[in-house]
């Protein structure tokens, strides 16, 4: 095992310290050129080549089987419909997937195996050329200059400037024509009193509109709302809307909760917005508009599942965590003579995300 050793004591081979100077661009050794070609088994042994051929053929046959398997899934399991069990649908999906996978992989793996084992594997060298030669570039430049000269555009600034003006203006109609992507303002069948962004300020809530359950539309009595409850609420009449139901719902959804009235911090002007600790807040997050629907009955936190904005219901839905930057709007509510919860008015500020005109 080489006991004679690698030189004497202290004869170490560490030469890193004396890093020498060298001309940049030349490497420590010259490019040795392509390594010699190493023949494959199939290049030398006809039996190996034959074996590879059989393997490829087997893979192609496997592909054929895959195609057949697809048809088994498609025709033997047959048409799916109301009586199809989930398991059957799953089985069909699996057979279609497995069949296609075999059909495709059989072909793909087969061809690649063929290329790898039987087709020539000598690496070849091709020379690169400059993208375009200098001479070409000079010619092209000359041609462009001639064209510009013959067009006289440089000599006649009046033509140039008026053309620039015309070309700059001409596309404007192509932009303006998209104005009616939002055509709701022109339609008489829609609520006409609110145009443009004014619509963002108004919802279906109004004085006396009953709070009803989402989705059933049944009204809610104050006594139904026990402490710790959370009701998902829509305005009465929403379900009966023929047109624009989802638009209205997107602004009007409300979460109704009852807390111990002593826990509520009520600011000035909002004293009569709750009913014995029953409070209603817009469910639309003030961040980017997801429904803030996760109510924790002991911490009294509302959490948005989209971006984790957290609001504290005891402090008028103030933001305590997450990306939202202002509190959820509160819906002022009261009880009517029959004991049903009703709105006192619309929201006092726009619901949902902040927009430029919001203020």
């Amino acid at each position: 095992m080489g006991e004679q050793g690698y030189g004497g004591p202290g004869h170490h081979s560490d030469a890193v310290e004396h890093a020498g100077v060298e001309d940049s661009g030349t490497y420590a050794i010259d490019n040795p050129g392509l390594p010699p070609h190493r023949p494959r088994l199939a290049d030398e042994d006809p039996r190996a080549a034959k074996k590879a051929e059989r393997q490829v053929a087997f893979l192609f046959l496997l592909s054929i089987l895959g195609t057949i398997l697809f048809f088994v899934g498609y025709f033997v399991i047959g048409q799916v419909g109301p009586d199809t069990a989930a398991e059957t649908l799953r089985l069909q999906n699996m057979l279609l997937g497995l069949g296609t996978a075999f059909a495709m992989l059989g072909i793909g793996v087969g061809i690649v195996h063929w290329a790898k084992t039987l087709m020539p594997d000598h690496e070849m060298v091709e020379q690169r050329h400059e993208v375009r030669t200098e001479a070409d570039r000079a010619d092209a430049q000359g041609i462009i200059e001639d064209i510009l000269e013959e067009s006289q555009i440089k000599r006649r600034p009046l033509l140039r400037n008026t053309l620039i003006g015309a070309v700059a203006l001409a596309p404007l109609p192509a932009i303006a024509i998209f104005r009616d992507l939002d055509d709701t303002d022109n339609r008489s069948d829609l609520a006409a009193e609110n145009f443009g962004v004014e619509r963002f300020r108004h919802t279906m809530w109004d004085e006396g509109v009953r709070l009803v359950r989402d989705p059933s539309g049944t009204p809610i009595k104050a006594s139904d709302v026990t402490i710790g409850s959370a009701f998902h609420v829509i305005p009465e009449g929403l379900n009966e809307l023929q047109y624009g139901k989802l638009n209205e719902k997107a602004k009007a959804v409300v979460l109704l909760m009852r807390l111990d009235p002593d826990k509520l911090e009520v600011s000035e002007g909002r004293e009569d917005w709750n009913v014995d600790g029953i409070v209603a807040y817009s469910k639309i997050c003030t961040h980017v508009g997801c429904p803030v629907a996760l109510y924790e009955q002991h911490t009294h936190h509302l959490l948005c599942p989209c971006h984790q904005s957290t609001f504290d219901v005891t402090r008028e839905a103030k933001v305590v965590f997450g990306p939202a930057s202002h509190a959820l709007p509160q819906l002022p509510i009261t009880v009517n003579e029959e004991g049903f919860l009703v709105a006192r008015s619309d929201f006092q500020e726009p619901v949902g995300p902040v927009y430029w005109e919001r203020g």
Binding site: L41, R90, Y295, E296
Partner: protein, 267 residues
Amino acid sequence: MKALAQNRRHPFAGVVLLVLGLLLTGGMYALASTMNQAQAATSGTSYSAQDISEGEKLFNANCATCHGFDAVGTEDGPTLVGVGAASVDFQVGTGRMPMQMQGPQAQKKPAQFNDEQTAQLSAYVASLGAGPAVPEDEYLDTDHEDVNIARGGELFRVNCAMCHNAAAAGGALTRGKFAPGLADVSEKHIYEAMATGPQNMPVFSDANLTPEDKRDVIAFLKTIEANPSPGGAALGSLGPVSEGLFIWTAGLGILIGFMVWLTSRSS
């Protein structure tokens, strides 16, 4: 079987196997506990004085440390007067109570009391003040002729999915709390959870979701639990995150394997 063999060496095979294993044990556990509870429910709807006094003994020995004698509550645990039998049956029956330690929320674990003891505890707490009772079998019967699964699904999406996920796979709440997955929870415990609002879950009283509504929700949950995803393995029903993770690991992993093979020299 062919499919199974194909994917045996799949980079995700371990995970899939693990998930399958968990689902299987979960399913068997659910089956076992459902059978137990079915027996309990038949015997435990009306409580005898004997049950109450036995329950009191159990309570004083196991629960009073935190909830106080006569369940009036202490700093460590709330009062249980008026929480009802359903609450006790849920908390004790799912092993959440007695709690192992204080934490963001009580965790599900193997039940510490048998069905009889649970019923006795429920009887005792119910005797302290009126509250939601253990549900009648009628409202747990998901094969009932009036059951409407689609309506249950709608109610689930409006009232429950934001915390528990659309496929009831569970989700996160604030500060370490979470809404558990509902896949292996018995009908009775789902009902009781809705009725009593355990931990931070809001209460869905009968005035909010009627017993029939609750039954529809339960029937919906049991339907999606019983039926496998038609598209194949559900990847935890967690939506785009697990799908994205899967394409980056398994999808690209398999393809890189093919790529390396394809560009390597044949021997």
